[in-house]
């Protein structure tokens, strides 16, 4: 009579112990998450419905007016477009280029390690430092790039690469490509190591050419890596700030603003913290929507196998 009850109590205590353990281990992480992620988001949402100058009490409740202001502001709409151009441009340029370089560097050759390191160096460099260096290189008239162009008889743009509203965004995109190509290459190289050697051998036995091998084996098997990289690249492009801030500050004539530079300009520079709050919430929502869509539509095929495994283990447990 007693033993099942005791056993029951024992099970209860062990279940509680398990819960306690979970709480103990998860709390610090949750606390940090709440403090540094949830709280700022909540504060941003809170600020976005007020008009606030940065000090004094929050009293001037304006409802959704800040959102209307932001969405009706051409500068903000343009900055969203700039972000999307950077997202698209980064992927469209870095994917083929990174893949080509990764395939080249994957071949056994002299100096392979050295070349891999060199291609990765820009990524390791702090973004601010890279920005300052490029800013100096791109100076009109006195910059190295204009000097080089001049010495081979080419003419640099009159107002410089960063000073001409029609060129500035593309110049920024070029610098970003230089900076982040290394990441794509290194990830693709890592992905390439996961392609089984036997597949290549089999293909070669079947008489496939190098191109055919790459097209039919390497690229499809590299799919998950490429999709994950594109996701990282997309999020990075949406949050782009440092490089733009240093190279152009969003100028000339707002031709390189991003959502992040917009909200800094409105927030700390113009003390429209409410408008900046609204812009940051909109940035958050745009990033969230794009991330969720990407997860659902594109990354899902990579994660699907995981779901299947989980289900299988669950079934096992039940049968046991």
């Amino acid at each position: 009579m007693n033993s099942p009850a005791r056993g029951g109590r024992g099970r209860v205590t062990s279940a509680w112990r398990k819960r306690l353990e979970i709480v103990l281990f998860v709390t610090p992480a949750l606390a940090l998450f709440a403090l540094f992620v949830v709280w700022p988001i909540v504060t941003a949402v809170q600020l976005s419905v007020y008009r606030w100058k940065g000090f004094g009490p929050l009293v001037d409740f304006v409802g959704l007016r800040n959102y209307v202001t932001v969405l009706a502001d051409d500068v903000f709409v343009d900055s969203v477009v700039h972000n999307l151009i950077i997202v698209g441009g980064s992927i469209a340029i870095q994917l083929p280029l990174g893949l080509a370089i990764a395939l080249l560097l994957n071949r056994k050759m002299w100096g392979q390690g050295l070349l891999r390191t060199i291609i990765f160096v820009p990524y390791v460099l702090a973004e601010v430092i890279a920005g300052v260096v490029w800013f100096q290189l791109l100076q009109p008239e006195y910059g190295v790039i204009d000097g080089l162009l001049g010495s081979v008889g080419l003419e640099a743009p009159e107002q410089g690469w960063l000073g001409d509203p029609d060129l500035a965004l593309w110049t920024v995109l070029a610098v970003l490509t230089w900076k982040y190509l290394g990441l794509a290459v290194i990830l693709f190289l890592a992905g390439l190591q996961g392609v089984p050697e036997e597949l290549y051998e089999a293909a070669q036995l079947d008489g496939a050419s190098w191109w055919q091998v790459q097209r039919k084996i390497t690229v499809p098997l590299l799919g998950p890596t490429m999709r994950t990289w594109a996701f990282l690249s997309m999020i990075g492009s949406l949050q782009l700030f440092d490089m733009v801030w240093i190279l152009t500050g969003g100028g000339p004539a707002n031709s390189t603003t991003t959502m992040a530079t917009y909200l800094i300009n409105e927030g700390t520079r113009s003390q429209n913290f409410g408008i900046a709050g609204a812009a940051s919430v909109i940035l958050f929502v745009i990033a969230l929507i794009m991330a969720v869509l990407y997860q659902q539509l594109i990354l899902s095929r990579d994660t699907r196998s995981d779901v299947v495994t989980v289900k299988r283990t669950k079934t096992k447990k039940v049968t046991r």
Partner: protein, 439 residues
């Protein structure tokens, strides 16, 4: 499908929680509205200033030590780099915590100060500093709100053209007027252009250096009272504001600026606007009294270039503003609302004849106390004093005067005008709509 539903539910839940939380979270804590100052008799206070190196820092340390010796009140001095100080000041105000807000700090006056006053952060100095104010009353108006003085200006400088005497001479401009007309000024531009020299460097990348042209247009076209009335009523329909922009547009149309000026920074590095002037790549720059110091820091030798001369922003035939008026600005000492009375005494001490004379001797700024204006040792700086004190008003930088919210919108629009994507009417419209949003 199920996964998708869960994802959607999560987002919905998340946003609901966030919105609810936003609604529930109490309004941020502001400074207490108590009229009585519990802290009034404290024998210790903090002072923030931005002379964070060399002789300036040593001098201010000495000033604080002298005050301590005299009164027995302890002064906690914190010398910070200028930008750092502004950031920390903003953060301290945001916290609303009296313990974090310095007792004596630097204020730039105008709309910024008015916003701080409105938030109850600044102490009224009208009575506690009456003697000091009577000495510097020429300058206190733009540091007052509703006729009460909230900051004591200790250095008021002017913006004008700093030019390279050698390059001007090489271009055949021998007779440089101290206050040229626009025709004379256009003549300079033409001759410099002919000589193959870049006439003007401007840091339009930072926006405010470009905006200074427009502010000067306003000073030339709009009488001081008109500007003040426009700010008071938030109505900028007076045609003088439009004329100001037209003058600037005429200057821009001559393309006198350095290449790539739209992204040129104001003061950082040898390719900045000040750097181009300091390294003789451009013949002049519109800048404030800080220019000799900044240019000195950007030359190879680290010396202030001796080719630097100064002349005022050109005047226009039939202009609406007083030709003696200039545009500039400066720094003032404010005392925070919760500061002890001793902090007010200290602010007065900082404006005393003795401290201002020492301040001038070290060329730390252009002193406001008339007893100290002769003490400047740098001749280039000294020549600004008669212009400043020549009977006209020194109109505060308009972005400071209008406050950061309207000022920011104005500067953004003026920068667009320099890029040829905006015009005089757009600038006025931008100011008008930002001012209305603030009402």
């Amino acid at each position: 499908m199920k996964r998708k539903m869960r994802g959607a539910a999560l987002i919905a839940l998340g946003s609901t929680v966030a919105l609810l939380a936003a609604g529930c979270v109490g309004a941020g804590s502001g400074p207490s509205e108590d009229a009585t100052n519990e802290n009034a008799d404290a024998q210790e206070f903090t002072w923030w200033h931005n002379s964070n190196n060399g002789e300036g820092k040593a001098y201010y340390d000495q000033v604080a030590a002298d005050f301590e010796a005299e009164t027995g009140v302890k002064v906690n001095v914190q010398a910070m780099q200028h930008e750092d100080m502004l950031t920390k000041l903003q953060a301290a105000f945001q916290s609303g915590d009296d313990a974090q807000i310095p007792d004596v700090y630097m204020s730039r006056g105008g709309g910024e100060l008015a916003a701080e006053v409105e938030a109850g952060l600044v102490r009224d100095l009208t009575e506690g500093s009456a003697d000091t104010i009577s000495k510097i009353s020429n300058f206190t108006e733009q540091y007052s709100v509703d006729d009460k003085v909230y900051a004591l200006p200790y250095s008021i400088g002017l913006v004008g053209f700093w030019y390279n005497k050698d390059l001007f001479e090489a271009a055949g401009i021998t007779d440089v007027s101290q206050s040229p007309t626009i025709e004379e000024f256009d003549g300079y531009l033409e001759k410099l252009e002919e000589a193959g020299t870049t006439p003007i460097s401007v840091g339009a990348g930072d926006k405010w250096p470009a905006a200074h042209y427009w502010y000067y247009g306003v000073v030339r076209e709009c009488p001081y009272d008109v500007v003040e009335a426009a700010i008071e009523s938030a109505d900028y329909s007076d045609p003088c504001f439009l004329k100001a922009g037209e003058h600037v547009e005429d200057i821009i149309a001559q393309e006198p600026f350095n290449r790539g000026f739209l992204t040129t920074p104001a003061q950082t590095g040898p390719t900045s606007a000040s750097g181009l002037l300091a390294t003789e790549k451009a013949a002049m720059e519109l800048a404030g009294h800080w220019e000799p110091g900044v240019a000195g820091g950007l030359t190879e030798s680290g010396e202030v270039p001796d080719f630097l001369g100064w002349f005022a922003f050109p005047t226009f035939d039939g202009q609406g503003g007083d030709p003696a008026d200039q545009m500039g600005g400066g720094d003032a000492w404010s005392v925070s609302a919760a500061a002890p009375d001793a902090a007010v005494d200290f602010a007065n001490y900082l404006l005393s004849d003795e401290v201002q004379q020492g301040f001038a001797e070290l060329d730390m700024g252009l002193p406001t106390n008339p007893a100290a204006t002769d003490s400047l040792s740098n001749e280039t700086l000294a020549q600004l004093i008669p212009v400043r004190d020549g009977g006209g008003v020194t109109q505060l930088y308009l972005d400071t005067r209008l406050g950061q919210s309207v000022g920011g919108a104005m500067n953004d629009e003026i920068a667009l005008m320099f890029a040829g994507e905006s015009g005089p009417q757009d600038v006025v419209d931008a100011i008008q709509s930002a001012a209305e949003a603030e009402q």
